[in-house]
């Protein structure tokens, strides 16, 4: 390609320095115009539906507003109310607990699946596809599927448990078990994604690294601990941050499976914000919760940024 360019450039007639600059600046202007023009639909959409709403969320969070009629400016009252709102703290704690459990489980399952299906075996492609299927199914459909499985009376899970002599579990009436059921479904939905990400990373480890390791006696578990796991660290870090942010957004399955209950034992921050805004019609309050969620997500986004940047510079 380069040769083509130079050959084409060669016969260009010599231009005076000033003329060349004028040509160059005209080209630069054309590029600038084209760039702005091509980026403008995206800029318009993002301004209208992302940046303005983001700014407005802060504004709404300072108001009392039912969604209809007049807004009333109340300063930081919503935030003051949040501090004393027991349900908000329960929802925060639930989100934290859910995150602390789902993220490591997801990492372990995804990595195990990737290690299992990394090297050649019969029907490897089929297994990979099957593990990935839950990822493409809607959260609502997944919720309905598990609603049936977790039914405390006629659900197949309890039927199986009692068949092998274990006590039936009250998946819907007991807060802890309801949370467990949400975690189980999330794990089921997420294994495929973690697997694909780890598989890409595993394929990137050069064969020579393993060969050198084999010479040094690193095989089996030792090889995993001393070679594979350290080399996968950037991937793991990415997945951890990504899953943390993702677990702040779990909504669909909860909405279908437990509705946040029993009581508030599976209410997470996003549910609580939705409930306040669209069921209780406290839109200002919901916006204030939204601001808090936004700040938390922002912290993790920046964290990931800093990490990938420091790795770039290194």
């Amino acid at each position: 390609m380069t040769t083509v360019v130079t050959r084409r450039r060669a016969p260009e007639p010599p231009v005076r320095a000033g003329g060349r600059r004028r040509v160059a600046s005209a080209a630069l202007k054309a590029e600038r115009r084209a760039g702005l023009l091509m980026a403008s639909p995206a800029l318009l959409v993002f301004t209208l539906f992302m940046f303005i709403p983001l700014a407005l969320t802060f504004w709404y969070s300072l108001q009392r507003y039912s969604g209809f009629g007049r807004m009333r400016f109340i300063g930081l009252d919503n935030y003051a109310a949040i501090i004393n709102d027991a349900t908000f703290w329960t929802a925060s704690l639930n989100t934290l607990l859910y995150t602390a459990l789902t993220v490591p489980i997801g990492i372990v399952c995804g990595l195990s699946a990737a290690l299992l299906l990394n090297r050649w075996m019969p029907a490897r492609g089929l297994f990979r596809a099957l593990f990935y299927v839950p990822v493409v199914i809607s959260g609502v459909a997944s919720g309905i599927i598990f609603l049936r499985l977790f039914d405390p009376i006629v659900g197949i899970l309890n039927q199986m448990l009692t068949t092998i002599g274990l006590p039936a579990i009250d998946w819907q009436g007991n807060g802890t078990w309801a949370l467990v059921s949400i975690i189980l479904v999330s794990t089921w939905q997420g294994i495929g994604f973690g697997m694909v990400v780890y598989l890409a990373a595993l394929q990137g480890i050069p064969r020579e690294v393993y060969e050198a390791g084999t010479v040094d006696g690193a095989v089996g578990w030792k090889r995993f601990i001393h070679i594979t796991w350290p080399l996968l660290r950037p991937t793991t870090f990415f997945l951890v941050v990504y899953s943390i942010i993702g677990s702040f957004q779990v909504f669909d399955v909860v909405y279908v499976l437990t509705r946040g209950g029993p009581g508030t034992s599976t209410t997470f921050l996003v549910q609580y914000a939705y409930d306040q805004g669209f069921n209780q019609r406290r839109q200002g309050y919901a916006a204030a919760i939204g601001v808090i969620i936004y700040l938390v997500v922002l912290v993790f986004t920046v964290l990931q940024w800093r990490f990938s940047k420091s790795r770039d510079d290194a």
Partner: protein, 301 residues
């Protein structure tokens, strides 16, 4: 946000291709038979566990509520009640929901594709004022949940008179940074020489983009189409907020409405659930490699 990861991923993809091309297959297969068998056995067990919920959906979808409430429920259907798949169509506007979902998914794909391909190219290859700042601003919204901006967005949809309309679902969700990020990363890997050559041939920026760069971008387009389709097809929170009229529902919103309608009659509910995910399963079956490539290429979102 993860440019580093992207470059890692891109090299990884090429690494895979090279490894596949140069490595003799025998070497790959040279593993002790016992090890391979153990791995297959574990994979089979895992697949059975992971696929059981799917099986149970299909099994339940052909059962009557009587059959499902007499314990123990047989693992294999005794009678096949196919009417579960047909009856809800006449009782509920399922066809409308399907049509709404299709229209929303298709519109979203078309607009997302147009907006993100152009902007991705501009951000990757054309210099214009504040380019990096604008890109950073957009990318910083990559992980913002709908719940953060739902209140003002809802107000906006009301002001635009888009409540209960497909456009009310489509337009606000176009502001999603993922597609733009994916497109930009792809275009960064297009060699500058290629674009320069086209420019020297006298092609303008748009022409270069349209007839030189786009024809090279089929894998990107495929991934963008598939991911956008999947997300919009499965989307729940935002349509739930915008659509209140049962005739305007999408499939996921309609399904959650059916949960109350059918209450304990799970047969038709699961039949409809299966129908709602069937298009997605087919798309996945046919375009599997783009799902995987898409994840790998973008540095995994």
């Amino acid at each position: 946000m993860s440019t580093a990861l992207t470059s890692v991923a891109t090299t990884e993809v090429t690494a895979i291709e090279e490894a596949n091309a140069t490595l003799p297959k025998d070497e790959e297969r040279h593993q002790p038979r016992r090890v391979v068998l153990t791995r297959v056995a574990i994979a089979v067990v895992a697949a059975i566990i992971l696929m059981f919920p799917m099986y149970w959906m299909l099994r339940t979808s052909v059962a009557t509520s009587d059959e499902l409430s007499t314990l123990p429920v047989p693992l294999w259907p005794q009678d096949w009640h196919w009417e579960n798949y047909t009856q809800p169509w006449s009782q509920y506007p399922f066809a409308r929901w399907l049509a709404n979902s299709v229209v929303i998914a298709v519109l979203s794909v078309v607009f997302t594709l147009a907006i993100n391909l152009m902007a991705g190219y501009a951000f990757a290859k054309l210099r214009f004022p504040m380019r990096n700042l604008l890109f950073l601003l957009i990318i910083s919204t990559l992980m913002v949940p709908v719940q953060v901006i739902m209140v003002p967005q809802f107000q906006m949809v009301i002001d635009l008179h888009l409540l209960n309309s497909n456009w009310g679902v489509v337009l606000p969700r176009l502001a999603e940074a993922f597609g733009l990020f994916m497109a930009r990363q792809f275009f960064l890997s297009v060699p500058d020489e290629l674009i320069e050559a086209a420019r020297i041939d006298g092609a303008g920026h748009f022409r270069t983009f349209w007839s030189v760069v786009l024809p090279l971008s089929k894998p990107l387009i495929a991934s963008l189409v598939i991911f956008t389709f999947m997300w919009r097809w499965n989307e729940f929170v935002w349509p739930l907020i915008v659509l209140n009229d049962p005739d305007a529902y999408t499939l996921p919103v309609g399904l959650q409405f059916l949960i109350q309608q059918f209450s304990s009659n799970f047969g038709p509910l699961l039949a409809m659930s299966f129908l709602s995910i069937l298009p997605m399963l087919l798309v996945f079956a046919f375009f599997q490699k783009y799902f995987v490539e898409g994840v790998a290429r973008t540095g995994l979102k």
